[in-house]
Symmetry: D2
Subunit: 340 residues, 4 copies
């Protein structure tokens, strides 16, 4: 940790801080300059948190030398983590595709969509039973009834399932009916929920928040993994910027950046990431090209009648085209699309 | 609602949509143009949600004519709502100041800080028992123990209290020990939590999310108020932008905008909104000047030793200066600072 | 154009505006509603600019129905435009790569880099003689001397050249020494410069500004094309967001969006777009995958000693790896890399 | 300067860099740690620019200890700079108001508006002769004819004038006809223009770019001042964020931040900064409250008919209300509004 003192700090102030650093078991460094004095502290910076040096009135700035996340970091754990959702695996040589509707709406819709996803070559079924909606007047999901329908659709199609948890009390139901938890962008920093999911035995797909830096995403994953659940899949789904032509700005550069800095699998959601149907296929190809481990795609058996996010949903035919369209890019990336 | 059709839409497509609009009880409008056909739907646009016209493959764009929020809107309810936290009131002619530490750390800290806040002229005490922290290695709050200490500090100082709820299960404890709920920026769209708070009988301070548009904030408030709790105070606390000199960009223009569009009280948190101690006083003056109903300020009896956010915390002396410093601006704004 | 009136507007106010619309030769529409009156104007919306209806005190909002850009729009001109820089062509079935150093520094550097670019299979040479630098203390480019060296490097390597113009007075020199003009992100809305370039007879590479919406970029291109120069290549090079892990956020979704809405070629600069050397190759692959017509890459014969942007520059070996690495993705996209 | 090495850097690599630092006349520091080696360089960091250490393949990160701007910094030059535009002064105890139309449109408009500004108590007249407009189909200004009309309006009202320069060739005309140059947000990093203005003898109002960090603004000012012109006034006018309710997000916290870090005067433009007429008065009050040295306000004798930006323009009556409305806040801030 590098500690830059304010111009008015004296040698005595510096000595006092150096002693605190040394008392924490770290190596202190004193670097007097003509305009500023700089101090250093070498060792595990997490213990320095307790000194709260950034609160000190004579400290201008504290810069960490090391990353704040540890166990999700590739530096600590260089080998790729492989996460399995039912028979689908993420993080190895495969390129794995999760698809399904934004929300479970009724039996026919989810079962038909599941079969279409399976037929087109998709590997996992998604479908929300609990929906976070900006407006209280929008459709909020079917709840447990939706989870049961999702399980039926899983049985009918043979696909494992992923569904969103909005709240701690949803966790037990989702664990009962689905194969993986999804944490949505709005909940990426719902730390209580993350901790509970860290104690579960099913994988977690963690979506990046709309205002979350990549480091925030990795720290959120660290919350889950430190509690004991190593099976976390990170998902880039767009951030909020000034651009209004798309719903969000899909930050694909986060994919190779994450793959370099963490051992966790990374997938991309181009449906929410752009909010525009026509952009889903090209951005899926780009995701495969830049090293993603898979995709999450919105598919609805009848997008025109979808109760939410229909504008970005693909029809079964369009999804089938997508599965064909990404093939050469998946191959060029040295990956394989697992067979149906 | 204005519906712009794609160039390829035919008269028949338009007629089909117009019929749907008319079937929902709204007045349909047909506006053929040389390059695009535009349709209109006049009436309560909330019922049109169910048509999901933005999903329609021949619809290019749907623009609402009216706001999506209703009962928090000043158009529906022109008179200012007055919200009371204990004896402190928000939304009338007063300018009301909530102050206290980021987190409750121990008895001495919270009791001393509470007394200092009271002596300096503050009207409400804040202090977190449950803390949302980006890193799992940071101090996470004292939990129920913290709530009990907050209540002691309230008794010792005579100040009503506000504290954050992170999760549905926190609600009953906070309702027992504190006078108002705070929903933090990371939870602004935790809709389940908002709904529960809408069923409680104590006021809610709702902070704007880091990536939340003003309309999102109003829709979040609508979640609470539609459930039956009218006592919501909105709080501007900075949004995330590219600027790195401050922790967030405090969007003060949101204050007069909100005061124009909603009847709910609006306060400003310049401590989180800037993250820089020296900016707290000038931005507090500016908040008073542009029409805010009050402030939320971080004060710590010993900022140097604070377990969180010390960098932006004021000492008791600095808070006392702030209470003096804002006086002429509060007066210029035609408000009064309630006496101790 | 859709014109939403304020609640207080009367029938008489509406009639007055409708008459103005009709006087401009457009078709006026009157849509009275229970809460708001909406007016419409159908026809070429550019003439409505002169009414300045958004200034009208009783107008709440004006929404255009049509795009503001016209001649760069694919709706007006559906066929792809092919732009040639020397023998390199952009916008057809090829995938064309521009490469070279950020700045021309000296003869050896630019000539060696040019040869390395040529040998690796690059198609155009870039190199700045006039450099826009945030700090006045940074290297500002060699000026005309740099242009002459660039021309020498072009002769030595056989590559056509692209170089940046900062200012109107640079245009004649660059036209004399180079094969194409580049307009940098900071100058995307230097409208005087755009107009002059619209009168030149060499192509223009127009980079997206750091805070420019895609529509702003298209309007900037419209400035050039309306003046008579049809040869504009658009370049996505990252926008400014809250993320600090990269220098900019490369908005690849802009590529398919632009390809859909304009007939102009679109290339990607992943060097400035990420600012991180390790991300250049994966984002180049992704650019090819999502439909870009080519790349602009920073290459320096000795990145360690580069006078600017060395951190993101590739060495000749790394550039050679890039040209190999993108091949399968270019092929998967149905494109070809022109032979050396 | 703090230099963090990559984990793979050896002692020999470190020694090589330390020698380079020492050869530049700075004091080198060697700080080996268990996970990373950190180097330091103490002294004038501007000379280190030439080492381009951020390009070095074994360097992970370079953090400056000192600011990059020097002569505009308050640390170097603690006393406030006073800038005079005609008889109006900025940066002392006064609060000075520049007002006028976005663009000069015709004699009657600019002369009437000038008189109205003068009568209401404004101190300077603004009015654009050269207008930067996003669309080539919008009004582009009257050019030199506009400058002449502005001078007439100045004579008729007795107010000194400010007008925008878009390009180097505008500078001589503006110097001839107006009392101060304005550099618009889109040109804040038009470095060639800044350098020319640095050689002129009239003051420059430098507006913050839409994607410019505060540090970028200070570096842009440094370009002007290093060339010899000390009379620069900085202007906060809003930055681009995801919020769409306003045209820009006015970053008022930049005002006290700038006043702390630079000796140059700082004014606020709430007209462009919000783009919403109703927000101009409250944000003007807030600007005075947080320490601004003045305002720039759009006023038009007939906003309904304005050729640009009418939506945010005040009528003469509204401007007069503003001059009255800000009075108590200016007084509370310890400033005076110079008499007519």
């Amino acid at each position: 940790m590098i500690i830059v003192l304010k111009p008015e700090a004296t040698k005595k102030d510096a000595d006092e801080i150096l002693k605190q650093i040394s008392d924490m078991g770290l190596k202190p460094l004193y670097l007097p300059g003509t305009e500023r004095t700089v101090l250093g502290a070498l060792g595990d910076e997490r213990v320095l948190e307790n000194l709260h040096l950034d609160n000190h009135p004579l400290v201008e700035r504290v810069d960490p030398i090391l990353t704040l996340y540890k166990i999700v970091s590739r530096e600590i754990h260089p080998k790729d983590t492989l996460v399995k959702i039912g028979g689908a695996s993420f993080g190895g040589d495969t390129f794995t595709v999760i698809a399904g509707p934004c929300a479970v709406e009724n039996r026919e819709q989810i079962v038909q969509t599941a079969k279409a996803v399976k037929n087109a070559g998709g590997h996992c079924l998604r479908g929300g039973a609990y929906k976070p909606r900006s407006s209280p007047y929008s459709f909020q999901g079917l709840g447990i009834e939706g989870l049961k329908l999702l399980k039926e659709a899983s049985a009918a199609s043979g696909l494992p399932t992923v569904t969103e948890v909005l709240e701690v009390s949803d966790v037990e139901y989702v664990e009962k009916y689905a194969d993986a938890f999804q944490v949505g962008a709005r909940n990426m920093q719902n730390f209580r929920l993350l901790k509970i999911l860290g104690q579960m035995h099913k994988p977690v797909i963690l979506k990046r928040g709309m205002a979350a830096k990549i480091e925030d995403l990795l720290l959120a994953a660290e919350y889950i993994v430190t509690e004991g659940n190593p099976d976390v899949i990170l998902c880039e789904r767009g951030i909020r910027t000034f651009e209004t032509a798309m719903r969000n700005t899909l930050d694909l550069s986060a994919v190779p950046y994450l793959k370099k800095h963490t051992h966790l699998p990374v997938i991309v959601d181009p449906s929410h990431g752009t909010g525009v149907r026509e952009l889903v296929l090209p951005m899926s190809k780009a995701a495969a090209a830049c090293g993603a481990d898979g995709l999450m795609i919105e598919v609805h058996n009848n997008p025109k009648a979808a109760l939410s996010d229909g504008k970005q949903s693909l029809s079964p035919e369009q999804f089938s085209e997508l599965m064909h369209g990404i093939k050469p890019f998946v191959k060029a990336a040295g990956r394989t699309l697992p067979k149906k």
